[in-house]
Every structure is written in C-alpha cells, then in structure tokens.
Amino acid sequence: MNDQFIEAIIQSATYQRKEGTATSYYWATGAKLLPDRISISKESEMNETSHTGRNPLHKITGQIMGTFKKNETSPLKLNKPFNLRTNIWQMEDFPSFIGYGTIGISNQLGKIDRQSDTGDLIVLHTSTKDWKEITIHYFAGSVMELESIMEFLYKRNK
C-alpha cells in the first residue's frame, strides 16, 4: 500500500469526551462509521478479564466499546444487538499514537468473538491531555497493512 492509496481510503472522525465522565465519548466531526457514542477506556480503567484479546503482539493500552442506536446507520451495524468492540494496542515504534484496534462487531449469534473481527483497522491519536478529544482514523479491510499505515500517519502528523 503506497501513501497515495492510504490517503485515498482513510476515513477520520473526532470524538470528544463528555464533561464529567471518564470514558464516554461523543462523535464531533468527520466520518460516521462507529456509533455516535462510544466508550474509550484506558488500560488502568479496564477490568482484568478484558486484558485477554485477539492480539498477543502488542501491549493493551485501552478498549473501545459501543452500541449503535436504532436511528444510526453504518456498514458495521449488521447484527443485533449491534455491539462493537476492540482493544487498543500500543505499538512501541509509534508512541505518539494512543494505539490501534481491529473492529469486532456482533456476529449472527449476537456475540463478539475472534470470527467477528471485520479486518478493519482503526488508529487512535490525541493531541489533548487526558484524551479529551480523540481522532480515530478508520481503514476498512486494512488490518494487514498496519505498519505502512502507522508510518504514513506518523509522517503526516509531523
């Protein structure tokens, strides 16, 4: 994947944390792929059982969870109860990013497991203290291109 292709497929959105909450984020601008309200929790705020995941390579630094509401539309809203979840893993080579995740959505049985991973990659970035505002870059079907995408975003953010 070259930079021009990554530039062509990137879809970004910003989410802002609701005042007075620790993990509740609302869509503010950009692409509407994830639910309007998502929960982004830091590693320290997660319970122990959430630390197991689909990727043993990198350190878990947080988690995203969300549920699509009745009036929301998204290519990810496929099976009831329309849940979405991913761990956020940090890449040591790119510490300026919060991390990346691979989107898992409810399967036909309503559960999220290894098979319900969409292969879509998200990369989280913030320039605000305490993750007050987070930019989520979305790359459909591109989880295998993690390294080149991280490098592209790193160079672009410089």
Partner: protein
Amino acid sequence: MIDYIEVTKHLSNKDTINLGHLQYEAEYASGLHKFFVNGCRNMELQYNPSLGYIRLKGSPLYFIQGHNFTWNKQSFTEAIKYIEKLISLNLFDSTVDKLEYGKILKIEAKPQRIIAGHLAGKGLTMEEKSRDKGNIRYFNDSNVSLKLYNAGTNIQHKQGLTMKGIIQEAGWNAKDNFLKFEAHYRKPHISLNNGKGFSLSDMLIPSFERTLKSDLYNQYQRLEKMKSLEIPSSKKELSSGNIILLALAEIAINQGKDIKKLIDNYIRAIPEEILNQEDKKARRKQIKSMLGKVHSSDINEFDISDQLADALKI
C-alpha cells in the same frame, strides 16, 4: 501489463456481500446499483440483487498505485484482495468480461512520428481524434480495440505533481519518449481462450500471461507500418519546399503511387497563360533534382516489432 478489467461474479445463496464501505452512486430502473470503491483512482462496482451478480470495472493498477507506468502482479493482486476484504467476497473466481493488456516502450523517435506511421491493417478500421493531436491512434474490429499512444503525454496531462514524482522514481523522465501499445479485448474469451470463459485467477497464471504477451505481439503485426524516407542530414536540404516534397513522397510511397508522375500531371494541368512550356520544363527539372535526393530508408523507423518483442521477452 494488465490494465483495465471488467469482471462479473454471479452470487450464490451462500454469498453475503458487504457494500457498506463503498461509495453509493446511483440506482437504475433495471435494478442495478452503482458504487465506487475508493482508491487512488476509483473502481466501479455494479450490484444487481435481482439478477444476483456484481460487476467490477476499472484499473486495479490505477486503483492501488495511482498510475500504470509500472506493473507487477503483486500490486494487481493486492488491489483485488483489498476489494475482496472490503466486500467480504471472493473475486478471483469472477469471470473476465473485458480486459486491457499493453506494454510501454521507451523509444528514440518522437511518439507522434511513430504513431503517424501506423495504419489499419486488414480487418481493422482506424480512428483518430483531432483533439489528441497525433498522440493516439485506435484500430478496431469487433473483438479488439488496439491503441497506440504517447504514454509520456498521458502522464504529463493526467497526473499531479506528487504522482509525477513517484512515476519519475519508477523510471519516467519527461524528456524521454514513451510509446504504449495496448489491446482492449472486448471478447477476451474469443481472442485469448478459444471461446472458453476464464476467471480472474486463470488470467494471472504464467501460461496465460504468455498467451497475453504473444497475442499482443500478434495484434501489433495486424497494423500496417508505413514505409519511411531517409530524413536529410543537412539543414540546407530541409527547406520548406523540400519538407513538403518529403511528406508527399512518403504518402505516395505508402499508397503505391509514383510521385514524379503525380507532379508531372499537376504541372501539365497548369494553363499556358500562367506557366509556359519553358517555365514548366524548368520546374520539372528542379523537381527532378529535388526528388533525386529522396531515398527510402533501409530500416523501417515506424516498425517497433523488435522493441515490442524485447520488452515482452518473447
């Protein structure tokens, strides 16, 4: 290189297609839905739920790398695999409806000169558009559309600065001359596979690639190459009058006509009041001397068969 493709996949009951990540474009009365797959250059995806098929159109190379100056199978398959992931559907078993295969050659002469030296051979019709300013010629029959064009102009006009930089790194130089010969197969199963349909994965196997190469060469042989004249080496011999005569002589040779006879007849038709016998004699003498300097070239500068064979490694 395989450039433009059109492939159709007939969906089975087991197939569940995900169109959510595509850019929705339109719905037609026929029940066809049109989408774009976003990339460096978009590809088009048509979905007809009532007839149960999808059709993918476009150039995987332009889609994934933004240009077609260089080709490798890996980039091509990367593009298809990306779309497969996006729509959750295997595409390599799709049937190839149309395809374009071509080769770029670096040449010494100006591409316009070489293009102008190619005419339609037997069974082909030639088409040229004035807006292309001699940079492209099409040769058509019911199965193929052959295209001979200035690949450098294409890059100059169609690409932005960033992409020009990338193509430059891949070996393109604005000062060099690049010519592309391309075959657009309207019925590829007839031209390339003895009438039998073939899939996208069939198209990528080495033996099929050999078929594509040799057919491209054979298609090129269908074009008629004009005979060329030796261009005089001194400026003195290239007066405006001489250039007109050279151009006329070249056309006459290629049409099998005797230029001396043509000019003689023309002079004969001029009324006595304008040119008397002595004037006509003098003109004939002058033209005879000019024609004496016109020599047909030993090597046909228009025929790029050898370069094409080398580039195709056949």
